[in-house]
Point group: C2
Chain length 380, copies 2
């Protein structure tokens, strides 16, 4: 078998993007490169569905998350953090690293939270200066209701709504401006289909006002520096130039088809995969699943590590296992990225064969058939 990558970041990326990044290096301050950076920065606005600037950092997504904290908050601030997985918890961890007072809204892993259930906490802590949340929680495969929570937060307080959109932007319907999301963060190895190494952050005017007065220390992650450089079509520090070259092409490809066509495609791939898993007797983990990835429970009778290892070693299909408290209990397969329906058929086939290797009892072919039926039914 040839290797197939189905991890929820890095995802598979288009061959054309790989080829594009192989051109001779350019200097990041040359007029040609500034032109490329300006084009990328403009197209990122469309990707984020915002009229405001989108800043590019040379970090992983977590670096951009930290940049939100250190640029928008000040010493002693109280914040609310909605945490239903490893990445939700990261917001709280970063805030605590900077000595902020964190009010956690704990959501059981695998669940999301109805927007209304956030209202009481936001009202009770109306002195909180920010509410942090995750749109698509990659550790559990759960999608959270950003639009609904945004309405509640803005109705009850002046807190900024700061959203981790790392596996949602470009993947799930996401409307930064229309949904009044004050700050949104994303990363490069996800919906935008390039390798890891870049992260993005977009602020609205309210958030920029806060950034002017923030007193937490920062240098490399300073967004005021990044904004000033962007006005000169540049970055304050040497950026990962080859990744930006790839990003120019991938954004062009994505925007040519239009974001809604990607949202729909990922919904179809996710739906088909879920049907495939259920058809072989597996259970889904997420109560309100994200279309970025599907988290599937490993049956108690099977060894979750062995299953993921068999997929990887025998069929060369790499999926992600569970993280933290979910180690060995779930596996996660990506839909976001350069995938189509036949990729999900390949995945379902490998999943079936690995399940059979481990002694799981089901009718071989049922999973693949369910993926095919889902495609036929969707009419595409």
């Amino acid at each position: 078998m040839r290797p197939r990558l189905f991890t929820p970041g890095p995802t598979q990326i288009p061959e054309r993007v790989i080829a594009e990044m192989s051109q001779p290096l350019q200097h990041h301050r040359s007029p040609e490169f500034k032109q490329i950076f300006a084009e990328v920065s403009e197209n990122l606005k469309q990707f984020f569905r915002t009229a405001g600037e989108v800043l590019t950092l040379t970090t992983s997504g977590s670096g951009a998350m930290e940049s939100a904290v250190v640029n928008l908050l000040s010493k002693g601030d109280k914040v609310i953090s909605i945490e239903g997985g490893k990445f939700g918890e990261r917001w709280g961890e970063i805030c605590r690293a900077y000595g902020l007072q964190v009010v956690d809204i704990q959501v059981p892993w695998g669940d999301s939270i109805p927007a209304e259930e956030v209202r009481t906490t936001v009202r009770q802590h109306s002195d909180a200066t920010a509410v942090f949340m995750t749109h698509s929680e990659t550790s559990t495969g759960v999608a959270f209701d950003v639009k609904g929570i945004s309405e509640v937060v803005h109705a009850e307080s002046d807190a900024l709504l700061i959203v981790d959109g790392i596996t949602s932007i470009g993947v799930l319907p996401f409307e930064k401006d229309q949904w009044h999301i004050d700050v949104a963060v994303s990363g490069s190895q996800k919906g935008v289909m390039i390798p890891p190494g870049l992260a993005f952050i977009a602020l609205n005017d309210r958030a920029w006002d806060r950034a002017q007065n923030s007193d937490l220390p920062k240098y490399y992650l300073s967004l005021l520096k990044a904004r000033k450089a962007l006005a000169q079509q540049s970055t304050p520090f040497t950026p990962a130039t080859t990744l930006l070259i790839g990003l120019r092409l991938s954004l062009e490809m994505i925007l040519a088809d239009g974001l809604p066509s990607f949202w729909e495609k990922y919904a179809r791939l996710a739906h088909a995969t879920r049907e495939g898993a259920k058809a072989v007797g597996l259970e889904l983990f997420a109560s309100t699943p994200s279309n970025a990835l599907t988290a599937i429970k490993v049956p108690d009778e099977l060894d979750g590590h062995k299953f993921v290892q068999t997929l990887r070693e025998k069929y060369r299909v790499t999926v992600a296992g569970g993280q933290s408290q979910l180690k060995g209990k779930i596996f996660r397969v990506a839909h976001m990225g350069y995938y189509d329906h036949l990729d999900m058929v390949s995945f379902a086939s490998a999943m079936e064969m690995a399940l059979q290797d481990l002694g799981w009892r089901f009718e071989l072919g049922k999973g693949v058939a369910a993926v095919q039926i889902a495609y036929a039914t969707a009419g595409k």
Copy 2:
């Protein structure tokens, strides 16, 4: 003409490294990738000439500089910063962003400082917890005496010596352990010949002891997190995987030839280039030049911006102009990277032609001849 990049980062990189980075993406937690990361991390030790761990961050070199500050110092600490250019000043800027008390040793741009001249300040501020310096100051093309300054610092105080080796490691003779350099930082688009997007930092045991007690806030740049992950052949956050794939090959290529052969090569290329510049009547800017790059004064009669622009637009040779107070006054040409003697001949030829275009009077061919004579004289 085809494009030729002579900027002191990004530098030209081997075609084989570009090709290597074009393979299908791998997941950063897979056993195969962990193996690659472990190999890279081992080879980085040889590159830094240290027995201790070298940590890899997904940031530019400035991110690694900030990681040194936030992991090794504590609130209210006093530090000494030796500043003779834009990158030397960066140490002071970062320290001030974190509220540290900074004693500057100002060195005129273009000069270095004899180690003995640092002694009085270090003795006077023996309560300083760190001394920051730059080995190869990229903004001025000056090499500083790291070995000598290290002796003075350690003789006079318990301060950690923290060295920006961004354009020196792999380029100039550099012996982290032998010279008792407590902390050294480097970046990917320099001596290690891959694109920008990764940075490296190495600490000795004394520095790790300090890191245990540092109370400055950090998260993404936490070196304790990075060290813990490295013990598992991994990184705390998703790294720039494609750059690490390139790095594996470039380090293998460099170490196969041996670092000293690179040090010698860059010395020859730098010497030849300086001779070429002098032969056409130009003056060198640096009193103690680095072999990573040569900074050449633009004659008062010529327009420095126009000169760099002519090189780039007419001959497609990209060099760097001056930064900050040196804008328009110097230009800088790289030797570190994937260059050989004939590349320096090409550069000298383009330089001559651009000088002629701008009306500079000299005998055409003298610069190229001087580069050739330097090569012949060196016997290689």
